[in-house]
């Protein structure tokens, strides 16, 4: 038996590209996509590697490492942080209410409800696919600059996400207790309130807390388009190239996000005990 043949004890490793293997073609397609992306974007590699660009980056980074510590400025940043926190909390709360309202028709089963289920599903998908930033930019037209636009933007986007998750939770809830109440003639809304909702409530709260973690990041970033809070302060100081103040705001953002993550984790831990 020669080495490297099919029957030998030392077969060669498989070929790198085998025309019969589907994933080889997929990998080749991905390589073509990557090369085409770099080629079509025409990135200014020469300019990026140029000394002046690197020196500018280095200067930015150096300034970013020295935050400004003046008392009034820190108080201003703290009040902006509170505004961002309020924006995210209120936005998530509104999203829970709206999401639950939309999840009820979106999760019904039964032929005569197909129309409402499709409508609710489409509405939830539309709310969910539009990023918060886009909602924020559109709502600024209606309500002007300020945190109200940011709150509504977060509420609308998150209600799409939460509505879909709530609808899935409603569909997966065990139906026995609801069935028993229905048999006794209790109305549909009361059946939901007394039988289904208490069963799925821990899961709903867990989803909402997880979305709150995401929303605090989104709230910080929404301010950049004018929705108030830390983002607006960040865009303002960065626009004036005041890198030291910018780094204080960035630090506040990181601390706020870490704080909300920790709080949400603790609450979810307490819930699941």
């Amino acid at each position: 038996m020669k080495h490297g043949t099919r029957d030998s004890a030392y077969p060669l490793p498989p070929k790198l590209f085998d025309a019969r293997c589907r994933s080889c073609w997929l990998m080749a397609a991905i390589m073509v996509l990557v090369v085409a992306s770099f080629a079509s974007l025409d990135l200014p590699w020469a300019q990026l590697a140029e000394r002046s660009a690197l020196a500018k980056m280095g200067r930015f980074m150096a300034e970013l490492l020295q935050p400004a510590w003046g008392t009034d400025f820190v108080l201003q940043v703290a009040s902006a942080a509170l505004e961002t926190l309020a924006m995210s909390a209120l936005g998530t709360l509104l999203a829970v209410l709206l999401g639950l309202t939309l999840a009820l028709p979106a999760s019904q089963r039964g032929k005569h409800r197909l129309f409402w289920r499709t409508c609710a599903g489409l509405l939830l998908n539309g709310l969910r696919s539009t990023p918060e930033l886009v909602w924020g930019a559109m709502l600024l037209i209606a309500v002007g600059l300020g945190p109200f636009a940011g709150t509504l933007a977060l509420a609308l986007h998150t209600s799409g996400v939460l509505g879909r998750l709530f609808a899935q939770a409603l569909e997966n809830a065990p139906p026995e207790s609801a069935f028993v109440l229905r048999l006794r003639g209790v109305g549909a809304l009361r059946v939901f309130a007394y039988a289904t909702l208490p069963q799925i409530l821990p899961q709903l709260i867990s989803y909402s807390l997880y979305r709150w973690e995401n929303n605090i990041r989104a709230a910080a970033v929404l301010g950049i388009v004018g929705a108030g809070g830390l983002g607006q302060l960040l865009a303002f100081h960065m626009g004036l190239f005041q890198m030291r103040e910018t780094s204080t705001v960035l630090l506040a953002m990181l601390l706020l996000v870490a704080g909300v993550d920790a709080l949400s984790y603790l609450l979810r831990l307490r819930l699941s005990r």
Partner: protein
């Protein structure tokens, strides 16, 4: 005669005290606490929903929404939108490729399973510190929101797709690196410890021990992140990084509802297609 059954009919419409809600006081307390926490939140966010209905706000908003209904779909604009969509996908793909260049070395640097000194109990001091600093670098890279990176890069390299590519590369490099490290550490360590103990180099251990086990999960996560990167690159356009987002920003500032409607529709179609492609790729590759 002792009457042990609860007396429900002692007074019509009034329950016997033994049937009242025992946690009523508890619930009232928590509701009041929630209202007390809600009030400052409402004040801080300037939550005035009646402002939406004021004529000065309602009329332009209604006019803007009414403009949505014939979305602008002439051939020139459609071709333009297709080009911008390709740019968005290209920014996401290029950014994710650069992110891979950043994530793979950092992930390999930060895993415990490739540690020779860790084979026999506690890792030595300097290798442990090197791994810890790789993890801290990944944490910093993924904690800064990508919009912030994009804002900084727009000021360094100017408006255009380069800022978006670099912003996605840094943020997604951090995210991918951390998850790669988690996936590599969660596999069965038996193979890698055997190879390391028998004298294999770390790269050999990675390629022959860790990668074959975890390749499916790694590819699946990377393809999922590619889909997320497409959504992010559309949003990054808002700060000037090119693609659909920049066009949306321009059309919004000019209050051109028809163009905004077409861009939103194209964006939703893009997200849906990316979702389908990512599901197909994950089935095909993993």
């Amino acid at each position: 005669m002792a009457n042990n059954a609860p007396n429900l009919t002692s007074a019509p419409g009034r329950l016997n005290p033994s049937l009242r809600d025992p946690v009523a006081l508890h619930r009232i307390f928590w509701v009041l606490t929630a209202v007390m926490l809600l009030w400052p939140a409402l004040v801080l966010t300037e939550f005035k929903p009646w402002l939406l209905l004021e004529p000065g706000a309602l009329t332009p908003a209604m006019r803007f929404v009414a403009d949505f209904f014939p979305p602008r779909m002439d051939a020139e604009f459609a071709a333009f939108l297709l080009r911008e969509t390709w740019r968005t996908v290209a920014i996401a793909t290029a950014g994710l490729s650069l992110a891979l260049l950043l994530a793979v070395p950092l992930a390999l640097l930060s895993v415990r399973v490739l540690s020779v000194s860790g084979l026999s109990g506690r890792m030595a001091r300097w290798p442990a510190r090197a791994r810890q600093s790789a993890r801290w670098l990944l944490l910093i890279l993924r904690s800064v929101p990508e919009l912030v990176w994009a804002l900084v890069f727009v000021r360094v390299v100017g408006l255009g797709p380069a800022a978006g590519v670099l912003a996605i590369a840094l943020t997604y490099g951090g995210m991918l690196g951390k998850v790669y490290a988690d996936i590599l550490e969660s596999g069965d360590p038996h193979v890698s410890t055997c190879l390391l103990r028998n004298g294999c180099g770390r790269m050999q251990t990675f390629f022959y021990g860790l990668l074959p086990q975890e390749a499916a999960e790694l590819t699946s996560y990377t393809v999922y992140r590619w889909e997320c990167a497409i959504r992010s690159s559309a949003v990054l356009g808002f700060v000037g990084a090119g693609g659909l987002g920049q066009q949306l920003d321009t059309s919004l500032k000019m209050f051109n509802g028809a163009e905004v409607a077409s861009i939103l529709l194209v964006f939703m179609a893009l997200v849906w297609m990316a979702d389908r492609m990512s599901a197909a790729l994950r089935r095909g590759l993993a």
